[in-house]
Amino acid sequence: MRCGQAQRLMTSAVDDELGPRRRRALDHHLAACDACRREIAATGTVLDTVARLPAEVLVSARLEQATLRRLRITAS
């Protein structure tokens, strides 16, 4: 496996979405390539930081009431 191929698999590898055959091939490449080990570590850092963005935001009572008003119109 070349570095370019390895890099295309890194996001899936960090997300644990790589099939076993490709995972083994990537691991084999990483064992021998310092640059790709640094690259997958950077990929992990970026994706972990994205995952820490808040998934939720406060919803106002005004929005809930407006939605329920629209629902009444839809249902009638």
Binding site: M10, S12, T49, E64, Q65, T67, L68, L71
Partner: protein
């Protein structure tokens, strides 16, 4: 004005309307899905339980609104999209099949409506994707805590990284942003991201690869 509620639409105990599509009966629910509280919630809604919609709104609207804010740009537009999402959930409640995760179904609707919103010609102006809400110092909530940061300098670096990340995510093309948010923030598996976005798992992987490459370039100084 009295708070609007689904319960006001019909008398207590009366079904809340037929909706569009075919109702899923309890007999057609797969064994594994029957224990899923989300499936139970949708079955209640399909059966006409008036409180189920409010339960569903309270459970999913904080995530849908946050997702829409990050995609369509402004608070007002995100709120419009969120309303549309829940009206569609109600209208098409009978089309939901318990074989799909409810989260995936909800985000499929949200993704389609966000894409429609982004395609509207009058919406092509550059907008601040991280518009602040009234009275809010941090549009994305408080700065991300870094349990490993032990000095003020490290804390500042973490905040700087978080700010840079928000800008970089906001600058991604919409489909890359959607794939990234659905997989990393909302925790959907690639298969479910593909279902929500109407594309293959391979396409999801390609979107995420490009998004990650761009983010690594933008955050190079922090890595």
């Amino acid at each position: 004005m009295a708070p609007a509620s689904v319960g006001e639409m019909k008398r207590p105990g009366e079904p809340i309307g037929e909706g569009e599509g075919t109702t899923t009966s309890a007999a057609t629910v797969p064994a594994g899905a029957a224990a899923d509280p989300d499936v139970a919630l949708m079955l209640r809604l399909q059966a006409g339980d008036q409180a189920a919609f409010q339960d569903l709104f309270q459970k999913f609207s904080p995530r849908v609104l946050q997702y829409a804010r990050r995609l369509v740009g402004s608070e007002a537009r995100a709120e419009e999209v969120t309303q549309d999402v829940f009206v569609q959930i109600f209208r098409f409640r009978n089309r939901y099949k318990p074989q799909s995760r409810l989260t995936t179904w909800v985000f499929t609707i949200a993704t389609n409506l966000c894409l429609n919103e982004l395609r509207r010609p009058e919406r092509h102006l550059r907008v601040d994707l991280w518009e602040r809400r009234d009275g809010e110092d941090h549009p994305e909530g408080p700065p991300l805590p870094d349990p490993a940061a032990v000095t003020p300098e490290e804390g500042a670096a973490t905040r700087e990284l978080a700010d840079q990340l928000r800008e970089a995510v906001a600058a991604l093309p919409p489909k890359q942003r959607m794939a990234l948010l659905l997989s990393r923030v909302d925790g959907l598996a690639y298969r479910d991201v593909g279902e929500a976005m109407g594309c293959s798992e391979g396409a999801v992987k390609a979107l995420l690869f490009r998004a990650t490459q761009t983010l690594k370039q933008s955050l190079r100084d922090f890595l």
